[in-house]
Subunit: 562 residues, 2 copies
């Protein structure tokens, strides 16, 4: 269990009388000194600022940074110099702002950690062995639930089938989500429970693969509605698990993309008992959920800036891997298929309008270039009516027609992108799109140059919530193995500092939180990390190996490596 | 708008320097003196305690009461006596604890205040005139929504029909809830929108009256599902309206009996922005809603003890007026009919068990003697498994078979009753039950004598949330007109003090809040009222006329008469 002594406790430990005398000395006693650090942060202009110490106040906010060359004035009787209520000697360790994930799924991360994980399997045979082992080890589970399979990573050349699964689990239903969450793979008992056969007609926006085994996008609902519901106890456990994972990676704030009512209630329960540490900027799953939570508009910041309903998460299309992404032209590896648009232009605009009317921020998932165009057109139209600082967000923006790039900047749109998707997806993306259409793929550099605001995340649990991997991928376009050498379409790399901004100030701006946290500067919440290395000096490969030693949120240590 | 200067503001108004010097004088400065009152409260034993002043602390809790004959010790240099941060001179006015309504519907009260109210109509003709007038005055409303009609009060001798309504509104749907909320009356356009005809089969637990016009209990859902939803904006307005009404009557805390997800979200939004003043002890509407809100159990007390999810509200039957109450024998005025049980014994026990397992308090609506028996049997059974301080509640307990009375005491059950229901219903109850079965009707005295814990409320908006009327009815069994002289079944009257307890300490005990508020005593929240008369000395008729002058909650003035 991570330690979590806060300023008040440290103060108490240091003796009540001493604290009292300091308090009488002039009221500066409420401040604390985080001393002897190799500190670095970006400033509002995205430039690196270095410091050797940081003063924080009793509210857990930064009072000021002390520059490496700053000399304290010689204390005199009249001016005895600053006095601190407590001081922490960080012994020269590297200190950086907390990392922010601009797009993740908090409860899903915890649930995924509690269920069967196939994301590291490299073949169908390996996956089957792992599923069989999990079923043996968990005889009490009525359903085997899991996720993370990817027939592309397996080199299978087809979707897996129910028969593949029946061969290893035939005594109870099995339901396994694809790595991208846009498809599900079931065994025969799962389909039986759902009343699905190979002859079942998929609902609009979905597909039933043949032979029976995989359901794509909306069709997954046919099975998901019969999967036993996650209990509140499971959800609480999932939250706590996810929070520990995030804090361990140094992630201090998250934009939660698609908060359900049950998720929201879990966050509130955690906040109510003081167990909410990571900051959650929440986007309700669809407009009805959002309005149910927020009522007449976004909530205030709650629990000392740890929770806020910001806006709504919508979907314009599916994912590339399952060919659910909506493209302008046919899939290169599936002629005649262009993927699925989830909503008509009118439907999308009506929902966005309803949200914008009440001041909710709008974040729309759009992966294919056709979907991105649909959302850009909708924002262009709605911007006529809904003026001011709206910060429309497009989530993923994976495949954007180069002709449409400039619209991001023109409309002040936030491109919320996931660098590790690029490194995970590149082979698949080449197959889906063909070489001629890759100019607008994962094109964060062009978007930035064209005026978009970049925010970076991981889309956890689709990818690991590892910001160091994301940071390295963003300025190298190389994966953990250093492949491809020199980077994939390296002209789309941003600088190391731009990438850092995407995971800090850019991500907080993307959720209207830049006055609260994102960088270390006076007035900002003291969310910071102690690291085992200097991320600005490390090679990309070394940066990926960064170990977080301590994670502090609001001036309180929320996690420490054991 | 009511004034609401709190301790902090009063302190500021009295000058920062003065406050500072008091603080230095010994730390007692955080206390305040509510001085010069004619104070009265019950103590934990239900005995009257009188006082002339009350000390409260900065957290809004009672520090101590100062007895009428108490003389302060002569101040000396060493013992200068207590110093207060602020002092309010109440000029001798009567001060009592805030009143608690053990059974109400907060949002419904506000919505009712915003919609057509037929509760004061004395004939069908009068109602029709009022409906026509409302429709003319509100041309923008797509549906005419209202409540409060009672064919008994009209002396109609039958239910009203759709044709009655069509005669006054034929351009849009009309849907009007009966006074008890257990039936709805629609016009032809409402039934057309719902697809309901005289030939429609009622769902189980409901009834379609003929000729078409009124739907009873579960059948009301047929129309209610097509009535436009209440928007979050409406719900916020309804909450604020309800809160003003409650504070004006001197009601400082309420057990909200059937909180929906939307209601809960409204309470939280109000709490989050500091607009929640009245204390809400919430019972989720059914088990699913309760579990969605509370997850693994009741929430903590939130917002300085202003909101807590306590448990679940369930229904065993309907209401007496609409003959939905479930009786052991036939209705005297409808041979062959015994009303409706909503759940089988197994269903009821399973739901109660699911709730009790997670520590939710269970409150079951049971009006007819058969329904009360069903709930008593369920509690008897479940008490074998769920031990400890459970405080099972039966809501209304209007008609209880005398043979079943003792079970309340034996099982430690709370009888949550509404004295004004007795005065409103007595003629109807005589008709429904006949004279021979009235011995167990509204029998709060026998229940109390048999060991039940009494909690009193109004069931607002079914009745006005007027605790002074409720208090007077409880010890006189007479209505506002003094009828019947000598009281209806006066042997069932409790004492004036017992009735007061039902609206204060008894009501807080009934929701596990007796450590928080309910009486004025050290450690209790300083929830109190200033009144224009002495409720212990007033005649019953005068007591009903009590005017609340100021309502204070947690040491802060939340409402003042203009």
């Amino acid at each position: 269990m991570a330690g979590d002594m806060n300023g008040r406790q440290l103060r108490r430990a240091s003796g009540a009388l001493a604290g009292f005398s300091l308090l009488l000395a002039g009221g500066a006693g409420a401040d604390a000194l985080i001393d002897n650090v190799t500190g670095m942060t970006l400033n509002r202009d995205g430039q690196v600022v270095r410091f050797k110490a940081m003063v924080i106040d009793a509210q857990g906010k930064v009072v000021r940074l002390i520059a490496p060359d700053e000399q304290p004035p010689k204390p005199t009787k009249k001016n005895p110099g600053p006095r601190y209520d407590w001081r922490a000697d960080m012994k020269g360790r590297v200190l950086v702002p907390g990392m922010i994930d601009a797009h993740g799924h908090v409860i899903e991360l915890g649930l995924a950690a509690m269920t069967l994980d196939l994301s590291d399997t490299r073949s169908l045979a390996e996956a089957k062995a792992k599923i069989a082992e999990y079923a043996r080890a968990n005889p009490e589970r009525q359903w085997i639930i899991g996720r993370g399979w990817n027939q592309e990573a397996w080199g299978l050349g087809r979707f897996p089938t129910a028969a593949d699964l029946d061969a290893v689990v035939s005594d109870r239903p099995v339901w396994l989500a694809r790595a991208d969450g846009h498809a599900g793979w079931g065994n025969s008992l799962a389909f039986k429970a759902a009343g699905v056969t190979a002859a079942t007609t998929a609902p609009s926006g979905g597909r039933v693969e043949k032979p029976l085994g995989v359901l794509v996008d909306r069709a997954t609902e046919l099975v998901e509605r019969v999967v036993p519901k996650v209990s509140p106890k499971d959800r609480t456990a999932a939250f706590l698990k996810a929070q520990q994972i995030l804090l361990g990676y140094g992630v201090t704030a998250v934009s939660d993309m698609g908060t359900s009512i049950d998720d929201w209630m879990t966050y509130r329960r955690m906040g109510d008992i003081g167990a909410l540490r990571v900051r959650i900027m929440s986007y309700g799953m669809g407009i009805d959920t959002t309005v149910t939570i927020g009522g007449t508009g976004p909530t205030p910041w709650l629990y000392d800036d740890r929770l806020r309903l910001e806006g709504v998460k919508l979907y314009a299309d599916g994912a590339l891997g399952s060919r659910g992404a909506w493209l302008k032209a046919d899939y290169a590896d599936a002629p005649g298929q262009r993927g699925l648009g989830f909503l008509s232009d009118d439907q999308l605009q009506n929902i966005m309008s309803r949200a914008a009317m009440d001041g909710y921020q709008v974040a729309v998932h759009a992966i294919g270039d056709r979907a991105d165009k649909q959302v850009l057109d909708a924002i262009s139209e709605l911007s006529q009516t809904y003026k001011g600082d709206r910060r429309w967000r497009i989530e993923h923006a994976q495949i954007v027609d180069p002709a449409d790039m400039a619209s991001f900047g023109k409309l002040g749109i936030i491109a919320s992108m996931q660098p590790t998707h690029q490194t995970s997806d590149r082979v698949m993306a080449e197959a889906r799109l063909g070489p001629a259409r890759l100019g607008g793929a994962y094109a964060w550099r062009t978007l930035l140059d064209d005026g978009a605001k970049l925010a970076f995340g991981s889309d956890f649990p689709v990818e690991k919530p590892d910001p160091w991997a994301g940071w390295a991928a963003a300025f190298t376009r190389m994966d953990a193995g250093g492949q491809p050498v020199g980077g994939w379409h390296p002209e789309q790399a941003v600088t190391r500092e731009q990438a850092w901004w995407g995971f800090t100030g850019g991500a907080s701006y993307a959720s209207f939180a830049e006055q609260k946290f994102g960088i270390l500067a006076p007035g900002q919440r003291a969310d910071f990390l102690l690291l085992d290395r200097d991320p600005l000096a490390a090679t990309p490969a070394d940066l990926r190996q960064t170990k977080v030693l301590e994670t502090w949120i609001g001036g309180t240590r929320a996690w420490a490596r054991k």
